[in-house]
Subunit: 597 residues, 2 copies
C-alpha cells in the first residue's frame, strides 16, 4: 500500500494559534489600477528582533502556502518549512527574527476574494481586483513598517516566493541586504503559463464556479479546483521522481474513495491530492494568485532583465534545482547573468536534485540548499564562520605537489588591488580567498563542482555554479579587469574558444598551466616512448588524466601569436623549488604563467 | 496576429470520398474479456499491390488520427501525413501499397463508443468494452486477411501508432518484415499516465458527460474534452518550441471567440485547439483510446521487455526525437537494448529536433526521419540504393591521410566470417560495409553523429545512434564475438571503462590507434619542445585536436598488463607505406592494432 507523501501532506489547515493580524493603515493602491479599501494581513513571527533590528528575515510562501512556515514549539501544528526554519535549523530562529505573512489574494487570513468587501458587505468573489506580485510585496512592506523594521537582513522564498524576493529587491532596493530566490525565474516559461491556463479553465468551467459567486452555494467548484491541483502536482515533480514513486504499484492503486479515476496509482495519488486540496483552498484565490504569478515578468531578453535589475542593491544567493522543469535552471542563470552585467554581488548554485520543482520543500536536498542559505545569511550578518578565519593563514600552509600553489603567489602579484577578478574553474576558491585577504574587493568564481561551489559560498566567495564552456559567452565585453585560468587550460577541450572569450570579457587574462615540454617529460617520451608522467600536475596516467590538452610554453606562445593574443608578461617557474626559470624555460620550467590581453 | 498552426491545423473532418469499409466476418473477442458482435473498419489505400503482394505498408495512426493519412490526388482533402505519404514521397505510393485504417474505439468510421450496439439498438456509450492496443491490431490483422495479404513489408506509426507497430511485431511476428515505431516507447512514463488521468478526469467530470450517455443530449461534454485536448497539446510540444511559438505576442493573444481564458497567446491557442477538437472527436472515444494507450505495457524492466520482444522476427528501425519529453528518447533506447539482447536486427536514430513529440507530424525534421524511413523500406524491399553498390568498390579507393584506412584491411583479416561484430564509433560504416562485402552476416555499429547514422542506415548497416560512454553498459556479457574500436581510443576520455566494457560485451576486442611514440613525434617533442604534429591522425594542433588521449604502443601494452587484458595478437603498421613494422614498433610504427580479450 502506497503511503502518499508530498510537500504538504500532513499539514492540518487549522489556523495557527500564533497567527497575528495587522490591518493596513490606509487603502492599498494596486499596480494594475484600482485599490483595496481595507487589507488585513495574517502573519507569524519566530525568534526575537535584536536591538539593532538587523536580524530580520522575511520568508515568502508559494502559491498555496500560508504564514505558518514552521512550528512555534514541538507541540505546534506542522509548518510548511519545518526542515528549514526553527531553533538551530538552517534559518536559526535563535539567531534570526523570522517573519512570514500570508500573501495578498490568498485565503489563509490575509485579504483575498473570500474576504468581505466592506463597500458591499458581501464576499469579493469575482470582484476581487487583479493583483500582482508587486501588490503582494507592497502589503509585506506595510507589515515591515508596522513592525518598525527599517531594513531586512534578507528575503527568501521558493517558486512564487522567489518572485516576491525578486520584487523586493527591485521595488525596495534600500530595504533588503540579501535576497534568496529559490526555484524561481524572471517569468514563467510558456509551458508553465500553459499549465496555469488549463488549470484556471478547469476551475472556471466547473458549473459550480458560477462566475466566482459560489460562497453562498452549498456546492463549490471543487472539481475544477481539484483538477487544477492535480495538474500542479504533475509539474512539481520531476519525471524521474514520479516514476520512482509510482512504479512499484503502477497498476495497483491505493483504494481511496473518490469520484475521480483510480485505475493507476498515479491516478489515485492525484485524486487524493486534488480532493484534499479543496478542503483548504479557495478557487477564487487560486485564480487570483496564479494570474498574479503568470503576470510576473522581469523581461524575456537579457537587456530588459538587466534594466529591471539595475537598481537592486542587495547581495544575491540564487538557487535552482537540476531536475526542476517548471522553473528550469537556465532561467535562474538568466537572472545571474543580468546581475553580473550590472556588477551586482551574486552567487548561484544549481543543486543536483532528483526531486523537481518541489525540491525546496522536501528533505532530500535540504542539506545542500539549507547549508547554502545558512552560510549566506550568517556571512551577511557578519557572523563569518570559522573557515574564513582559518583561510587567512593560507600563505603559511603551502604544501608540496598539487597543493603547492606557488603559482598563486605570482598570479596574485600580477593583479592590481582595485581589479575586478574573474576566476575560471575557481575550485574551492583558494586563489580568490588569497586575493580577498590581500585586499581585492571585487571577485567572482566560476566552478562546475557542486561541493566546491558550496565551499566557496561558505567562505563568502561569490561563485557561479556552471561549466566554463557555455558560461563565458554570457558575460559582457570587458566586464572584468582580470580573468584567471589557473591550471585549468589543460583540462579544456576548446582552448581557442575559452581564450578568445576570456580576452573578450576581461581587459587582461592570466593563464597558468603545466609546461608539458619540461625536460623530464621530453626525456621520458623520447627515450621510453611512453606518455610522460611525473609528479604534481604531471602525476597522471595517460588513460585517466583529467588533462586533455598538453601545452608547452612554445606551443602556447605560438598559439597566441597566431590568434592575435598579446602576451604582456610571462613567468616560468620550477614549482618544486619555487624559483623563477629564465634559462630556456620551455626545457627547464615545469609551469608557466602568462598575462595576456 | 498569430496564425495558429499545429499538426492537424487545416484538416477538415469530412469523411474522405476514398474511405472504404470492411466488416469483420466474425465477432471480435477482446483481450481483456468480452467481445464485440460486429466491427466495421474504415480504411483507405494508396498505390497498387504488386503481383507478389510484397509491397504493402500499413500505417498506424495516433490517438486522434484517422484513415485519411494522405491526399489521394491533389484536389483531395489534406491527410494527416501528407509530408510522408504520396507519389515520390518518403513512403512512395508509386512503389508501395499503403493501407491506413481507423483504429478500433475511434469515432472516424471504425466501430467505437459512438457506434450502435446491435444488441440494444442504442449507442454503445459507456458500455463500449475496455479495449487494448492488441485489440486494435487484431482488427487490422482481420483487414489484412480480408485484403488477402499474407505478409506486410512493414508497419509504421508514431506515438500510439508506434505502440501498434510494436504490437504487430510481438503478436504477429510472421506477418511483418519491418517495423518502424516513431516517438514511441515500451509503455507510457508515469508522467505521461498522469496527464492522461487528468485529461480523463476533466472529461468525466463535465456535467454533460452524464456517465458517457450523452449522444442524445443537446449538450455534449465539450468543455471536458477541450480541456483534455489542451493538456494534450502542451505535452506534444517541446518547451523550446512552445516558447518560440508564443514568445512574441505572449501578452497579446489573438482575439478569438471562446468561453475559455484568453489572457495569454498560449491561452488563446489552447482554447482554439480545444474548441476545434470537439467538433471532430468523441469524448467516449478519447477515454477508450487513451485508456488503451495507458494500458499498453511491454514491461518496465529490461528482463520483461526482452522476454516480450523475444519472438519478434522483423527488422526494426526505431526513431525518437531528442526534444520529445512525452516519449523520451531513453524509452526508445530501452526497446533497442532489449532487441539487441535478443539478437534482433535493429537500427536506431534519435533525430535532433526542437519540435517535441509532435515532430513526427511536422515538416521541420521530415528530411531526417523521412529519409531514414525511405531507406529502411527500400532496402527491405531489395531495392538497395546506389550508395550500397558504390561502396562495394571501396577497396579500390584507398586514399592518403585520414582516409587511408589500411588498418581496415588488417582488422578485417582478424575477424572470422561467422563473427558477430560490434563497431564502436563506426562513423559512416565503412569498416562494417567492407566486412559485409566480405561476407560477415551479423554486425552492429554505434555512432554519435546523426549524419553518419543516417549514412549507415542508407547503406543498410545496422546502427545505434548513441554515445559510447553510456551505451556499452547496456549490452549483455559476451553478446558479440568481436568489438572493434578503430582509431577511436584516442578520442575517449574514460579509456579504462571503454576497454573493460568492450571486453565484457564481446569475446574479442580489436583496438587500433595511432602510435604517438612514432619517432617523428618523439623527435619533434624532444627537440622542439612542442606538441607533436604530423600528417594523418597526427595532423591536428594541440589546441583543437579531437584527440584527448595520446597512447603509445608501450603505454597500451602496459595498460593491458596492469588491467588484466589479454593481448592475443598485435600488428604494427606504417600507414604511409602500408607495411607491417616488426623492428621496434613503438619507435617505427605510426599505428597499432591489438586483438585483445
Amino acid at each position: 500500500m502506497k503511503v502518499f507523501t508530498s510537500s504538504d501532506e500532513d499539514r492540518t489547515y487549522q489556523y495557527s494559534q500564533y497567527l497575528k493580524k495587522f490591518k493596513l493603515p490606509l487603502k492599498l493602491n494596486l499596480e494594475r489600477g484600482g485599490f483595496l479599501d481595507e487589507v488585513n494581513v495574517a502573519y507569524e513571527t519566530y525568534g526575537e528582533l535584536n536591538p539593532q533590528k538587523s536580524n530580520c528575515i522575511l520568508i515568502c510562501h508559494a502559491i498555496t502556502g500560508d504564514s505558518h512556515v514552521a512550528k512555534h514549539n514541538p507541540e505546534d501544528l506542522p509548518g510548511w518549512w519545518d526542515i528549514m526554519v526553527g531553533p538551530e535549523k538552517y534559518i536559526d530562529t535563535n539567531k534570526y527574527f523570522v517573519i512570514c505573512s500570508n500573501i495578498l489574494g490568498s485565503c489563509r487570513g490575509t485579504t483575498g476574494p473570500n474576504s468581505i468587501n466592506k463597500q458591499t458587505g458581501k464576499f469579493y468573489g469575482p470582484d476581487f481586483p487583479l493583483i500582482t506580485v508587486g501588490d503582494m510585496v507592497n502589503v509585506q512592506k506595510n507589515l515591515i513598517d508596522h513592525l518598525k523594521i527599517d531594513k531586512l537582513l534578507g528575503v527568501i522564498g521558493g517558486s512564487l516566493g522567489g518572485f516576491q524576493c525578486i520584487e523586493w529587491a527591485t521595488k525596495y532596493p534600500e530595504k533588503i541586504l540579501g535576497c534568496v530566490p529559490i526555484a524561481s525565474s524572471p517569468r514563467l516559461t510558456t509551458q508553465g503559463l500553459a499549465f496555469d491556463v488549463v488549470a484556471r479553465n478547469a476551475i472556471t468551467s466547473d458549473p459550480n464556479f458560477n462566475y466566482g459567486n459560489y460562497y453562498n452555494q452549498e456546492k463549490k467548484p471543487d472539481i475544477g479546483l481539484a483538477l487544477a491541483r492535480m495538474l500542479g502536482h504533475i509539474t512539481y515533480l520531476s519525471p524521474e521522481s514520479m516514476n520512482e514513486k509510482f512504479e512499484i504499484d503502477r497498476n495497483n492503486p491505493r483504494e481511496i474513495s473518490t469520484s475521480f479515476e483510480k485505475k493507476f496509482s498515479i491516478g489515485s495519488y492525484l485524486a487524493y491530492q486534488g480532493e484534499k486540496f479543496v478542503e483548504r483552498f479557495d478557487a477564487n484565490s487560486y485564480i487570483t494568485i496564479s494570474t498574479a504569478l503568470d503576470l510576473f515578468d522581469l523581461g524575456s531578453d537579457k537587456k530588459t532583465l538587466s534594466k529591471n535589475l539595475l537598481k537592486t542593491k542587495c547581495d544575491w544567493m540564487i538557487i535552482s534545482f537540476s531536475s526542476d522543469w517548471l522553473y528550469p535552471s537556465f532561467q535562474s542563470l538568466n537572472i545571474v547573468e543580468s546581475l553580473i552585467d550590472n556588477s551586482k554581488n551574486v552567487s548561484y548554485c544549481n543543486v543536483e536534485s532528483k526531486a523537481g520543482h518541489d525540491a525546496f520543500l522536501l528533505q532530500q536536498d535540504v542539506a545542500e540548499y539549507g547549508q547554502i542559505t545558512q552560510s549566506f545569511f550568517d556571512l551577511l550578518s557578519n557572523e563569518k564562520n570559522t573557515i574564513i578565519t582559518k583561510n587567512k593563514d593560507l600563505d603559511d600552509k603551502i604544501k608540496i605537489g598539487l597543493d603547492n600553489r606557488i603559482d598563486f603567489q605570482y598570479i596574485s602579484e600580477l593583479i592590481p588591488d582595485n581589479a575586478k577578478i574573474l576566476d575560471l574553474g575557481c575550485e574551492e576558491g583558494n586563489l580568490i580567498d588569497r586575493l580577498i585577504s590581500r585586499g581585492i574587493s571585487s571577485s567572482l568564481g566560476v566552478e562546475i563542482d557542486q561541493a566546491n561551489v558550496i565551499e566557496c559560498i561558505k567562505k563568502g566567495i561569490k561563485v557561479i555554479h556552471s561549466d566554463l564552456d557555455s558560461r563565458l559567452e554570457k558575460f559582457e565585453d570587458k566586464k572584468f579587469d582580470v580573468a584567471i585560468l589557473s591550471q585549468t587550460l589543460q583540462s579544456i577541450k576548446n582552448v581557442e574558444r575559452i581564450l578568445k572569450e576570456m580576452t573578450r570579457v576581461s581587459k587582461f587574462g592570466i593563464v597558468s598551466f603545466p609546461n608539458f615540454a619540461h625536460h623530464p617529460m621530453r626525456e621520458m617520451f623520447y627515450n621510453e616512448g611512453r606518455a610522460p608522467k611525473s609528479s604534481g600536475w604531471y602525476g597522471y596516467n595517460w588513460y585517466d588524466t583529467p588533462n586533455v590538452r598538453f601545452p608547452s610554453i612554445v606551443d602556447f606562445t605560438e598559439f597566441c601569436k597566431e590568434k592575435n593574443i598579446k602576451i604582456i608578461k610571462s613567468l616560468f617557474l620550477n614549482s618544486k623549488t619555487s624559483k623563477i626559470i629564465e634559462n630556456n624555460p620551455n626545457l627547464n620550467a615545469d609551469s608557466a604563467i602568462f598575462l595576456i590581453s
